[in-house]
């Protein structure tokens, strides 16, 4: 059935996130929090994350353009950003954050910029993938068919 196929597809997609290291355990925690009372919890959190963190990223970007670099400030921004990335389980993004902070502590501006570019890339990739994932999940509807009439 189409629906089942969709579900399977979504399932595989989700699995790939973990296999590729894009997401970690925390994401599963979020999924566990999702229930009938909070049917779209995960999506809400992720949306919130992307909306809020984009601002932080912008701040970082602007700070990186300054000369000389204010490593302390950058580190603070990144700490914040890392915190929220951790909350949704964005594994690769988090790793880049850690790397970035190390460069900050070392005062390596060049390293910071490079890492930041990498971070933005990972961030964008994850965003796109999650968007697709949620979209398809919504389309497919609930995977449990017990309470809903099957639509073939």
């Amino acid at each position: 059935m189409e629906r089942n196929q969709m579900h399977k597809h979504i399932f595989l997609m989700r699995q790939s996130f973990f296999d590729q290291g894009l997401l970690d355990e925390q994401f599963i925690q979020l999924e566990e929090l999702q229930d009938d009372a909070n049917p779209n919890f995960v999506e809400e959190v992720v949306t919130l994350y992307y909306r809020d963190s984009s601002r932080t990223l912008l701040n970082i970007e602007q700070s990186l353009e300054k000369n000389p670099l204010d490593f302390n400030k950058l580190d603070n921004y990144m700490h914040q950003f890392k915190g929220s990335s951790t909350s949704i389980g964005a594994k690769k993004v988090k790793a880049e954050c850690t790397q970035f902070r190390e460069y900050c502590r070392a005062g390596n501006g060049e390293g910071c910029m490079r890492t930041f570019q990498q971070l933005k890339k990972e961030y964008a990739i994850l965003k796109k993938k999650l968007e697709t994932y949620f979209q398809q999940t919504r389309q497919a509807g609930p995977s449990e068919t017990a309470c809903r009439p099957r639509m073939n």
């Binding site: 566990e32 302390n72 914040q80 389980g89």
Partner: protein, 675 residues
Amino acid sequence: MTVEPIMDDSRDQFPIGMRVLAVDDDPTCLFVLETLLRRCQYHVTTTNQAIKALKLLRENKNNFDLVISDVHMPDMDGFKLLELVGLEMDLPVIMLSANDDPKLVMKGITHGACDYLLKPVRTEELKNIWQHVVRRKKFDSKDSNNSGSQDKPHPGIGGGSGSAGTLSDPNGKLNKKRKDQNEDEDEEHDENVNDDPSTQKKPRVVWSVELHRKFVAAVHQLGIDKAVPKKILDLMNVEKLTRENVASHLQKYRLYLKRLNSMVNQQANMAAALGGTDSSYLRMGSLNGLENFHTLNGSGQFHNTSFRSFPPSGLLGRLNTPAGMGMRGLSSSGMTQLSHARSSSGSTVDQADSQQVIHPGNHNGGVLQGMPMTLELDQLQHIKGVTHVRELSTAIDNRAIFPICSGLLDAKTNIGSSSNPLLGVANTTLMLEQNPRAVQGGEVFGNRSPVSLASLNSELSSPLLDHRRLNENWSTAAQSSGIHSNSFQLNDCFKQTTQSTMHQSNVRDDISKRAIQMGSNLHDVSSATSVSTELQDRRSDMQCGASLTSSNAGKINNHAGPQCWVDHNQDSSYRSNVMCSTMNSMIPVQGAVGPFVQSSDPKNFHPDMDFNSIGQSNLFDPSYTKHDEVNKSHVETSLKLKQGLRDQRKPQESYISSSFGSLEDIVTAMVKRVI
């Protein structure tokens, strides 16, 4: 922010329905946390601002059972919030952070956190947090139960407070030994003991300003070493107050004093090192007073509801009290408290008093010196007047400072007198530290005080050098009347200022002067900002100035603060530190004070350290000079500070005073005196 109604019946099903207040600036984390908590069947209220959280808590203490707060927040340092909540509301607080640095964890513990969780938080971890609430309740009840019995675990420890102290240790409170608890052993005041300790919540006693004042007065009368809950209770003669209440309050107070003392001692050392010519300065009882604060701060347990109640202008107001304030001013305002604090510290206190009077030039510079010591929370209020270094006072929003100062101010009351600005600052800082929460009240410190305090801190820390900074900060602080964080910052500032002042007698003078100036200029945050900015130009270090500026803007970035401080030091190593400290403290004025102080980043909060290293004398000079001129224009002072911290004490003073407001004035005053 979502608020859930309290349902009585759910309380019976504890832990289900436990009311939690969650604070985190990151919306993503907050949302996840909220959901997690709901999943554990708790009642969750969330807010992304620490200030709002405090407001909520203050509105009704009984609305919540537990507070979970992030460490890293822009408007207020999580640790500050933690302290305040512990002091004012006596609620268990759990810290949350993505940073697992052991130093931070330690900081959380020393500030009284029940627990420290790492992000991302898991459901399993949250499922068990209710234990902290129960533990606290149990120990509170046990405390009253055991108050009269002799078979307490610590027979030597006086009654309830002793057992409370030990029992509440697990709660994460800082409990220190109480030597004179012995007399409490035979007290049997179990009126407050609930029949069902394990489930019943003891009605909280609100330590209002009045109550606290009485308390402090009683303690003073008895002598800090001889003050035992029973006697205090008798002296206070307040209905419905039990010995246990007094005992636990006393415990907190002692911790506060200890903290002050250590701070003061630090300052004293610095002063000694500086070999300040100004004996009065050296004697700055303030150091002691500061120490007391430190102690008190350290204890973080010092419940100072009064802090909250301190009218924002209070602190500053005190500072503003006309020069005459000096010691006298202080005492009237609340100096007594200071003295009280002093008694703990001992000699220093006395000196502080004398100090205060001594400063001829400074309004009440002497006050500054003596101030810190006895900063009693109540005093803080007084300090307001005192610290306000005259000029500052007007500018300084006492309220703002007060909260902070309350802790510190008590000692600082001395500072209140213009001269004491520094002291006040120091005290404030101390107080601030302790009562970040109090300060947070926002209003109290909100506008000016924080700044002043901040400045004070800064001032204090790097006695002279910081002066400059303090001035700067103060002006900034003063200016940012609206800055709540200021109060917090003040703490920092105070500490710093205290330290700084201590070291440099000269600085003291400057500081006091500045403080005074600052007082007046406090309101003129913007000016401070400008000043700070100017300072920056002058000095490479003057980063502080920048911080100030930013702080003035109201965005004080604690982080920025610390940085500034450090930078300032460059000039005089001390100064930068001081400045930074102040700046940092000032910066928080917004409410971010917390961060400054807390800044888990050691680098941020180094003012003290730096100050010491720096030859204080140098530091202060500029600051002192600046102080005087602060009044004229913040800018001037700031500039001056920058330029010749060393040589130009005056400019600093003026600078500082204007910017910092009460704190700075105090510090400046102090510094001046010293010089």
